[in-house]
C-alpha cells in the first residue's frame, strides 16, 4: 500500500510513479499492488491479517533454503511468494496437521539462519559470495556525548534566500546520538551514517562514519554490519594519525589469538539490548520507532530522523508571506468578508449577475488559516521519509515527502484537536505536487492532501498501521460556486479556456467584470 494514495498511478496518468507502487507496508501488501487489486475486498480484509500471509513454507521454498544455515539466496522478490491457504478451523485430519507442521518447520529453518560476514578484503576470500558489503562497526556510546551541534537549519534558510543554493548547509546530524563508528565504508553508508567534519586533525577516527542507533541496528539485523563491543578505547582502535591500516582486518585476523584483543562481536540480542532504549534516551531509540524505521527501510523508503524543532521565533511566518502567490492573494481577498450590518438580509439587495458576490457575502464564518505556532507539541514528528529516488543522498535531498510521528497503539489516545494542531504546526506548509495547483482534475487530490499533513504510525507490538492527518483548509480555497457561473457562461458564451472548473479564479474575474450572461438557471 503506498503511503500516499495521491500518487496512485491510476489516478495520475501524467506521471506514472513506479516507486509508489513498489513499496508497501504492513504485513500484508508487499506483493504487487496489482495483485492486490484483483483480490476481492473480502479477501483483502482477511488478508490484512498479515499473519494470514505468513506461510513460511512458501518462503522457504522460494529461498531454496538448503544445506545449511549460513546460506543466503539473494534476490527473491515478494511477488514470487504465493499467499498460503488457510483453514477455518481444525478438522482433525492428518493433512492439516502435516501442513501446520511443515509451516512450523519451515519457519524454524528460515529463522535459524546465522548472519555471516565474509571478510571484504581478504586475499582469496570468498567475498561477494554471500553478497552485501559487510562492515565492522564499533559501539562507542560515550564518544559524542559532550558534542554541541550547531543549529544549522535556520541559517540555511537565510542563506538560501540570499545566494541561492551556493552555500548549502548540511541537514541536522544528531551527532550526540551517534554511537556506532564504522570501520571502512560500504554501500550502506551512502544513505546512512554521518562523518563529523571540522574535527581536529589528531582526533582519532577522523572522517569515519558514525551511525545512529536505529541505523546500526537495522544494518545488524539485515546482516550487513558486524557490530563489535570494544575492549580498548577508541584511540587505540582508530589511531589518530591515520595509521588505521595497522588495524587492517586481514592482518588482525592472521593470528587468531590476537583477534579478539580489541573487542568481541555482539549478537543481535546484544545489539538490541544496547541500542533500544526509552524515548529520549541519548544514543538509543525506542522499539516502536525502530520498528517503524526498519519497516519503512525494508519498503525502500529513505528515512532520516527529523531535526529537532527550531528555536522559537521568526523563520516560518516570513516564508509564507514571501511566497504568496497570486492564488493566495486572491483567496485572501476572498477570505476577507464584507461587513455585515447587525440586522437585515444577509445578502444585500441589488442586482447580481453572478453567484460569486452572493456566496462571498454569505461566508460568515472566518476560516481556519494554518498557522505555525511555536508551542512544543506533545506529539512530535520523528522521521522524515522520502520515496526512494536515484539522486537522494543523506546530505543532499529535497524536502521530505512525508513527515511521520510514531505512536504506541496501547498507550496513546486519539490526539486532541490541540495536539494534532500543534503537530501540524510543527511541519511546514506543503501543498503537495506543484502540478496539481490550479489543475481542475486534481481538486480532490488537493483536498485530500490538505495544506499540510502528517503521518501517524501506530504500533501495536510490532504491527504497524499508518494514518494520515491532513489539515483541510483546502475546502475554503476550493470554492465550488465559481463553477455555477462558469456553467452559466458556458450556456451562453463560448467556453473559455480552462472551462468549467476554473474554481473561483475565473469566477471572480468574470463576476467582477460582469461578463456573466444574465441570471443563470443554476447549472
Amino acid at each position: 500500500m503506498p503511503l500516499d494514495d495521491d500518487d496512485n498511478p491510476s489516478l495520475a496518468p501524467s506521471e506514472i510513479n513506479l516507486m509508489t507502487a513498489a513499496p508497501s507496508h504492513g504485513g500484508s501488501a508487499a506483493a504487487a499492488s496489482a495483485a492486490d487489486e484483483q483480490m476481492t475486498a473480502e479477501e483483502l480484509l482477511e488478508d490484512e491479517g498479515g499473519s494470514a500471509a505468513q506461510d513460511f513454507r512458501a518462503f522457504a521454498t522460494a529461498l531454496q533454503h538448503r544445506k545449511n544455515q549460513f546460506r543466503k539466496e539473494p534476490g527473491v522478490s515478494a511477488q514470487t511468494i504465493r499467499r498460503g491457504e488457510k483453514d477455518f478451523e481444525s478438522h482433525g485430519t492428518r493433512a492439516q496437521a502435516d501442513a501446520l507442521e511443515q509451516s512450523r518447520a519451515a519457519m524454524r529453518d528460515v529463522l535459524s539462519y546465522v548472519r555471516v560476514h565474509t571478510v571484504p578484503s581478504g586475499p582469496g576470500a570468498s567475498s561477494g559470495k554471500v553478497g552485501g558489503n559487510p562492515v565492522r562497526g564499533w559501539y562507542f556510546p560515550g564518544w559524542w556525548e559532550g558534542f554541541e551541534e550547531v543549529e544549522e537549519e535556520e541559517e540555511a534558510v537565510v542563506v538560501k534566500g540570499e545566494d541561492g543554493e551556493k552555500k548549502e548547509k548540511k541537514p541536522y546530524g544528531w551527532i550526540r546520538e551517534r554511537v556506532v563508528v564504522l570501520e571502512g565504508s560500504s554501500t550502506a553508508s551512502q544513505a546512512l551514517g554521518r562523518a563529523v567534519t571540522g574535527q581536529a586533525k589528531d582526533r582519532p577516527a577522523r572522517g569515519k562514519d558514525w551511525l545512529l542507533p536505529e541505523e546500526a541496528l537495522y544494518l545488524v539485523e539485515r546482516g550487513s554490519l558486524d557490530l563489535w563491543w570494544p575492549f580498548k578505547p577508541l584511540e587505540e582502535i582508530f589511531p589518530p594519525d591515520g595509521t588505521v591500516d595497522a588495524q587492517d582486518p586481514g592482518e588482525e585476523e592472521e593470528t587468531e589469538v590476537d583477534e579478539y584483543e580489541f573487542g568481541i562481536p555482539l549478537s543481535l540480542q546484544a545489539a538490541y539490548a544496547l541500542l533500544i532504549g526509552d524515548d529520549g534516551e541519548r544514543g538509543k531509540i525506542s522499539l516502536q520507532k525502530f520498528q517503524v524505521y526498519s519497516n519503512l527501510k525494508r519498503c525502500g523508503y529513505n528515512v532520516l530522523r527529523a531535526p529537532p524543532l527550531p528555536k522559537p521565533p521568526a523563520q516560518s511566518p516570513s516564508s509564507p508571506a514571501s511566497r504568496q502567490t497570486l492564488w493566495q492573494w486572491l483567496t485572501s481577498r476572498l477570505a476577507s468578508p464584507p461587513q455585515h450590518p447587525p440586522y437585515g438580509p444577509l445578502v444585500r439587495p441589488g442586482l447580481y449577475r453572478s453567484y460569486v458576490p452572493i456566496y462571498r457575502q454569505m461566508a460568515l464564518i472566518s476560516r481556519h488559516s494554518p498557522s505555525s505556532s511555536t508551542s512544543t507539541p506533545s506529539f512530535q514528528i520523528h522521521f522524515h521519509v522520502w520515496k526512494s529516488a536515484q539522486k537522494w543522498t543523506k546530505l543532499r535531498h529535497p524536502p521530505p515527502d512525508f513527515r511521520l510521528a510514531v505512536l504506541d497503539a496501547q498507550q496513546t489516545f486519539v490526539p486532541s484537536l490541540r495536539e494534532i494542531g500543534a503537530l501540524l504546526d510543527s511541519s511546514p506548509a506543503d501543498r503537495g505536487n506543484p502540478q496539481w495547483a490550479g489543475h481542475p482534475g486534481r481538486m480532490y487530490a488537493r483536498l485530500k492532501h490538505g495544506s499540510r499533513n502528517v503521518l501517524l504510525a501506530v504500533v501495536d507490538h510490532g504491527v504497524i498501521n499508518y494514518m494520515r492527518f491532513a489539515e483541510g483548509s483546502g475546502f475554503v480555497e476550493e470554492p465550488l460556486y465559481g463553477r455555477f457561473d462558469a456553467a452559466v457562461a458556458k450556456g451562453g458564451v463560448a467556453p473559455k479556456k480552462g472551462g468549467g472548473r476554473n474554481n473561483g479564479r475565473g469566477g471572480v474575474v468574470r463576476g467582477g467584470k460582469g461578463k456573466g450572461r444574465g441570471r443563470g438557471r443554476g447549472r
Partner: protein, 332 residues
C-alpha cells in the same frame, strides 16, 4: 515430529529479554517452543537477513505483549531477564571473563562451521560444473540435486531440537554421497583463509546462565496494568486459542482457533474490568466491525478474587472466573 521435540522442551526455560519495557525473544528454539507447546505466537518483528527488502516475512526477534510475557512466566516456562544490565555486566565486568571466553569459543566454532559450509558449497558447485562439462552426466546430477534438497530440508525437522549448527552443517554430506566429499580441501584452506565473521541471534554462552535472582527480574515486575486483558488472554490460552495483537482488526486481540499459520482468526477480543461499564457504542462498533471482517466480537472479564473464593489454586485454570460473550451483527 512433535514427540521428537517435546522431551527437550519439557525442561526448557525460555529467556524473555526485557529491553526498555518491551519483551522480546531471540532464540528460535524458544520461539518454536512457546508457539508449539504454549500457544503463544506473538509477532515476528525483525528484518529477515536472507531477504531484507520485504515486509511479508519477518524474522527474529519476536515481540511479546506484556500479558503474554506474564502468562509464560506464571506458567513457569520462562523468565524475564533485564537484557541491558546483564549485557553490560557481562561485557565489561572482569568477573565474567570466563563467560566471555566461552562466548568467543562458541563464536569461533560458529565461524569454522560457516567456513566449512562455504567450502562444501563451493565444492558442490564446482563438482556440478565439472559434471556439466562432462556432458551427459549432468542430467543425472540435476536429478540428484533436488532430492538432496528435500532430504536436507527434512533433516532439521527431525533433529530440530537437539542439533547444533555443527550437526546441521554436517547432515547434507550424509545424503550427497555422489558429490565429491568436501573434507579434503578443508585442512589446506582453513588455515590461510580468513574465517568469516558471524553475528549470532543470541548472546548464548555469554548470558546462558539460568535465572539467578539477581539477573532476572521477578515476575511481578511486569506491570499490573495489563490486568483486564491478561485475564482474558489466560482464559483463551488455557482453551487452546492463539492470540495476536488486535490492531489489524480493531480490537485488543485477534483470536485464532489454532496456530495462525493454519487458521483464520475467529474473534476480535477486548478485555474489560468486572464492574466496568461497557459503552453500548463499543459493542455496536466492534460487533459490526468484527462481522465486517468475518469475525465475532468477543469480550470478557474476570470476576474479582473476593467474589470467587477459589483463590490461588485456580491459578493454572484461571478461566474459571472469566466470563466471555460473543457478539455478532445480525444484519436484520
Amino acid at each position: 515430529m512433535a514427540a521428537a521435540s517435546a522431551p527437550p522442551a519439557a525442561e526448557r526455560l525460555v529467556r524473555i529479554s526485557r529491553i526498555a519495557g518491551r519483551y522480546l525473544v531471540f532464540d528460535i528454539d524458544d520461539v518454536v517452543y512457546i508457539r508449539r507447546c504454549h500457544g503463544v505466537c506473538a509477532v515476528l518483528t525483525g528484518t529477515m537477513p536472507q531477504n531484507p527488502t520485504q515486509n511479508l516475512f519477518l524474522g527474529l526477534p519476536v515481540e511479546l505483549q506484556a500479558e503474554e510475557a506474564k502468562l509464560l512466566v506464571d506458567m513457569g516456562v520462562a523468565y524475564v531477564a533485564d537484557e541491558l544490565a546483564d549485557h553490560l555486566a557481562r561485557l565489561s565486568d572482569p568477573a565474567f571473563e570466563p563467560a566471555r571466553r566461552t562466548y568467543r569459543e562458541h563464536l569461533r566454532q560458529l565461524r569454522k562451521t560457516a567456513q566449512q559450509a562455504f567450502e562444501e558449497e563451493k565444492a558442490r558447485v564446482a563438482a556440478l560444473h565439472a559434471d556439466k562439462r562432462g556432458g551427459k552426466k549432468n542430467k543425472e546430477s540435476k536429478k540428484k540435486q533436488p532430492a538432496g534438497v528435500e532430504a536436507a530440508s527434512a533433516e532439521p525437522e527431525s533433529s530440530a531440537a537437539a542439533s547444533g549448527p555443527a550437526a546441521q552443517a554436517e547432515t547434507p554430506s550424509l545424503f550427497d554421497d555422489d558429490v565429491p566429499p568436501p573434507p579434503p580441501p578443508q585442512p589446506q584452506k582453513q588455515k590461510p583463509s580468513i574465517l568469516p565473521g558471524v553475528t549470532p541471534s543470541t548472546s548464548f554462552p555469554l548470558t546462558a546462565t539460568p535465572p539467578s535472582p539477581a539477573s532476572s527480574a521477578p515476575a511481578d515486575s511486569i506491570p499490573a496494568s495489563v490486568a483486564p486483558s491478561y485475564a482474558l488472554l489466560t482464559y483463551l490460552n488455557s482453551r487452546g486459542y492463539y492470540t495476536t495483537p488486535g490492531l489489524r482488526f480493531g480490537g485488543r486481540l485477534s483470536v485464532y482457533p489454532g496456530d495462525p499459520f493454519r487458521y483464520h482468526a475467529h474473534y476480535l477480543a477486548n478485555g474489560y474490568g468486572w464492574d466496568e461499564p461497557v459503552p453500548m457504542l463499543d459493542v455496536v462498533t466492534s460487533g459490526r466491525l468484527g462481522t465486517a471482517v468475518k469475525k465475532g466480537f468477543l469480550f470478557g472479564a474476570e470476576r474479582p478474587k473476593a467474589a470467587a473464593e477459589e483463590g490461588e489454586e485456580g491459578g493454572k485454570d484461571k478461566g474459571e472466573n472469566v466470563r466471555v460473550f460473543c457478539v455478532e451483527w445480525a444484519g436484520m
